[in-house]
């Protein structure tokens, strides 16, 4: 049977904007209040406020560097910059990191459900379900993912806005004062921890670069799509600390769940986290599918496969098995931290290295052919 060439898919810039916003958001809203509040305390909102524009500008520059070679995906750009073998060797860990991250996300949503709604259900049920859905979506490709995201991303954003609105009456700005009580240090730590979130988007966009229809509008689209994401994350952090106070937020596992439990309609309708957390599942599937897609493409390109789709199923299976081997939830948090610091953060700065190298090499190659 002839090995199938994957069909050429194209997504528009508007779809790219929504897709990158959704991948950036993913399920960051779950741990963001805990991770950054543990580092920065009451100053975490300020840290995020500072990080937001910084991420937007830095991301814009990074994407501009990526889009310089619009029809070349990540591995192709690495090959151009570093040479064939070294380029592939450098790209492969990034692909594996994406897959590992996807595995971590499966576990994360499993933890959320087990903590908040269904404590006796074993984690494999959730992991397998998310893996199945995300695997199917990753198999179908970027266009299907873009269409899926166009429907679910506004829904997730709306739910997060409702969360923030529910916390608004309880907001107490005294919880933020005094500013910088322990100096700039904690705030800076929180600021630095926010940067890897942009790296995740950089990696994902890099992997699907050939599928963007109008590459010229690419960088701008990604930045525009990231703005609602950044805004809602900052608002969520502010709302959580305002409603619950910083030490209490840092004490909790996922403070966003407690915010969800605060919502009530009148006196009678409570317990709405049972509806809100399933909406979070949609965001989890988005990000897991996006990372499985990007990771399988990178791995496929590294091994020279023309069509990476058959690899999605085994990769998803391996990821799920791996995530179930993590027995403790705290291990998972540390695992994601490790991935973020050592893979996603460098990924944010890689375009600035790859682009000049690739440019130099192609110029040298051109000179060689002209001269010799």
């Amino acid at each position: 049977m002839k090995r199938s060439r994957r069909p050429i898919e194209r997504i528009s810039t508007a779809q790219l904007a929504i897709l990158s916003g959704a991948v950036g958001l993913g399920t960051v809203f779950l741990p963001i209040t805990s991770i950054i509040t543990r580092l920065a305390g009451a100053d975490s909102t300020l840290a995020l406020l500072a990080a937001g524009p910084f991420i937007a500008v830095l991301g814009r520059l990074a994407h501009a560097a990526q889009f310089k070679f619009p029809r070349k995906s990540l591995v192709a750009q690495f090959e151009l910059a570093f040479g064939r073998i070294i380029g592939r060797a450098l790209a492969l860990p990034l692909g594996l990191a994406l897959i590992a991250f996807a595995a971590g996300l499966e576990r994360q949503i499993a933890d959320v459900y087990i903590i908040a709604l269904m404590p006796k259900t074993p984690p494999w049920v959730f992991a397998v379900a998310i893996a199945g859905l995300a695997g199917a979506l990753a198999y179908e490709g970027v266009e299907a993912l873009a269409r899926y995201v166009t429907i679910t991303h506004p829904l997730v954003l709306a739910v997060l806005v409702i969360l923030v609105a529910a916390a608004a009456p309880l907001f107490n700005w005294h919880h933020f004062l005094p500013l910088f009580e322990h100096g700039i240090g904690p705030a800076f730590k929180g600021f630095a921890r926010a940067l890897p979130f942009a790296g995740e988007v950089v990696l994902f966009v890099w992997a699907i670069l050939p599928n963007v229809n109008q590459p010229r509008g690419g960088p701008r689209a990604v930045t525009v799509g990231s703005i609602p994401t950044i805004a809602i994350l900052i608002a969520l952090n502010a709302a959580t600390i305002g409603a619950l106070s910083a030490p209490e937020t840092a004490r909790l596992f996922y403070a966003t769940i407690d915010l969800a439990k605060l919502i009530q309609i009148g006196d009678y309708l409570r317990g709405l986290e049972a509806i809100i957390i399933p909406v979070f599942t949609a965001a989890s599937v988005t990000k897991t599918a996006a990372f499985l897609l990007a990771g399988s493409r990178i791995i496929g390109d590294c091994f020279g496969l023309p069509d990476a789709r058959p690899t999605v199923a085994p990769i998803a299976l391996a990821a799920t098995a791996g995530t179930l081997a993590l027995t403790k939830a705290t291990t998972m948090v540390r695992f994601i931290d490790f991935l973020d610091w050592y893979f996603m953060l460098p990924a944010l700065f890689l375009p600035f290295i790859v682009w000049p190298l690739a440019l130099l090499r192609s110029k040298r190659a051109a000179r060689r052919t002209v001269g010799g």
Partner: protein
């Protein structure tokens, strides 16, 4: 084109039969160019025997042999199938002129054996439709479709005269898609009537028809309809291609064709839309879609279909837009009810008790105290019962059917509650669910939602809200991948542009709906001029 004068032996019989039934001798595929062509004998008697034998001497075969002409009486045979052709028309317009031929003004030319056929075809047969045929198989096939054959002694050609006038139903109100305001005509089973209804609404030369004959034994006429300059030519070509590759023995209804040309026949969602209303059909043609009319079926098919179409009725466009917004919203809520209400009830009462308000919770708990079954068994039992009652109501005629449905539902509902088999709240839930399923306009979509309810109920029973979320996401992923003739199934919803949003959850007033939907009418997008609708008068202009 060879002329072999021979008697029609047994092989010839089989060949005639083979050609008449539109298949080659091997029995696969549409007629191929190299199949045997059976010549028409020059002798009328041989032809008559051939026809009787190949058709198996049917009782409704009408044969009339007579001679005409004075100087040299020419023997001829008129054959037709009684019931498909109007005998009075045949007699008036064909037999009478031939018999009166000598008295008519054929002054300068006498009717002889050699020119009899030409005389008939050019001077004597006062009919609209006339064709000369050389192949007996094809002639028999045409006769089975309703034409009249004329054989003349000494001529190896025959005439096909007239056209189909099969028994048919009058054009009446649509039974399944009723409106309060709007046209009430509905398609009938006769293709010619249907094309007439379409032509009268779109009186433009751009309206194109292309007829194919599908089905080896049924030879059903299927017509592709589109508006040239509005519809996407690639879709038209694709429709033609898919219809031509259908190889089946008979087409009884458009539904056969629907399943044979769908992108994904195994999907629960129908990707081909069907309607009984000519006005809805024409409205879709105007949007750039391609229609398929099937002879013998009162439902016309429309492709490509998007999910949004199944939630719209033609009445939406005939009532004022304010009401349409409300109605569309209610329809949406009703379809959610139909799909999700039993699963959410099961999930809430089994897994997520915090979700239910306290007083209501006590009420439900009290109702469930005496019920031995878990919520999911209760729900399945009631849903099955309701579906059975509904099905029974359809099968029984007229007023009995309606009475049985209503009485059955009420009595059974009341009885099971009193007996303590089912809790009272379950009856309410099921009633709301079924009412919701009636509110979905397209029967296909309503059926799909009814079907999908069951897996969702099972998922809710095993995993609560997570199960429902997983089920809905699986459906969403499936819908995202679904295409109808290349057009994504969720086209209006994703991407949601200002243009498409005007006709999904609301219906913008007509002056606002300036553009056709994108995927089907990419090149010819403008529907009305930019200046239609009320305009503010320019300064200085007198109103």
């Amino acid at each position: 084109m060879y002329k072999r004068k021979r008697k029609h032996g047994p092989q010839a019989m089989r060949d005639i039969g083979a050609v008449a039934s539109g298949a080659s001798a091997v029995g696969q595929g549409p007629p191929r160019p190299d199949e045997p062509r059976v010549a028409i004998a020059a002798e009328v008697g041989a032809n008559r025997d051939a026809i009787i034998n190949v058709l198996g001497n049917p009782p409704d075969l009408a044969l009339r042999e007579f001679s005409f002409g004075i100087d040299q009486p020419v023997h001829c045979l008129v054959a037709y199938i009684d019931g498909l052709t109007d005998p009075v028309a045949v007699a008036d317009h064909l037999i009478e002129p031939l018999m009166m031929a000598p008295r008519l003004a054929v002054r300068d030319t006498a009717v002889t054996r050699s020119n009899a056929m030409d005389m008939i075809s050019e001077r004597l047969a006062s009919v609209w439709h006339l064709l000369v045929e050389t192949d007996l198989g094809k002639a028999v096939k045409a006769m089975l479709e309703g034409v009249c054959l004329v054989f003349v002694d000494g001529c190896d050609r025959c005439l096909e005269v007239g056209r189909k006038e099969p028994p048919k139903r009058q054009i009446t109100t649509t039974e399944t898609e009723q409106v309060i305001r709007g046209p009430r005509e509905g398609f009938t089973e006769t293709l010619r009537d249907c094309t007439g209804l379409v032509r009268k609404r779109l009186a433009t030369p751009a309206l194109r028809f292309e007829t194919l004959s599908i089905g080896r034994l049924s030879n059903t006429a299927v017509s592709i309809v589109w508006l040239q300059g509005v519809a996407n030519d690639k879709i038209v070509a694709e429709v033609r291609r898919r219809l031509q590759r259908i190889d089946i023995d008979g087409i009884m209804d458009g539904a056969y064709i629907e399943e044979l040309i769908e992108d994904q026949p195994y999907s629960p969602f129908s990707t081909v839309y069907h309607t009984e209303r000519p006005d809805a059909f024409c409205a879709h043609l105007l949007e750039g879609r391609v229609g398929i009319l099937v002879d013998g079926s009162s439902q016309a098919l429309v492709v490509p279909a998007t999910m949004v179409m199944f939630f719209q009725t033609s009445e939406d466009y005939y009532t004022r837009f304010h009401l349409t917004i409300l109605i569309r919203f209610i329809r949406l809520m009703a379809s959610f009810n139909s799909l999700l209400l039993p699963p959410v009830y099961i999930a809430a009462t089994t897994f997520h008790h915090n979700l239910i308000p306290t007083a209501f919770l006590l009420s439900i708990a009290a109702g469930r105290e005496s019920v031995p079954f878990p919520a999911v068994v209760e729900a399945l039992f009631m849903v099955f019962t309701f579906e059975a009652v509904r099905e029974a109501g359809i099968r029984l005629p007229g007023i009995i059917g309606q009475t049985v449905s209503i009485v059955g539902a009420l009595v059974i509902g009341q009885a099971v509650v009193s007996a303590g088999v089912v809790s009272p709240i379950m009856v309410i839930i099921i009633a709301l669910t079924e009412v919701g399923s009636f509110a979905v306009p397209a029967y296909d979509m309503a059926a799909t939602l009814r079907l999908l309810r069951y897996p969702l109920m099972l998922l809710a029973a095993t995993l609560g809200m997570f199960g429902i979320a997983v089920g809905l996401l699986a459906l969403l992923i499936h819908l995202c991948c679904l295409r109808s003739f290349g057009v994504p199934y969720l086209s209006g919803l994703t991407p949601l542009t200002a243009r498409s949003a005007k006709d999904i959850f609301i219906r913008a007033p007509w002056p606002q709906m300036k553009f056709r939907p994108r995927p089907t009418a990419q090149k010819h997008a403008e529907r009305q001029s930019q200046r239609s609708g009320p305009q503010r008068p320019k300064r200085g202009e007198r109103t």
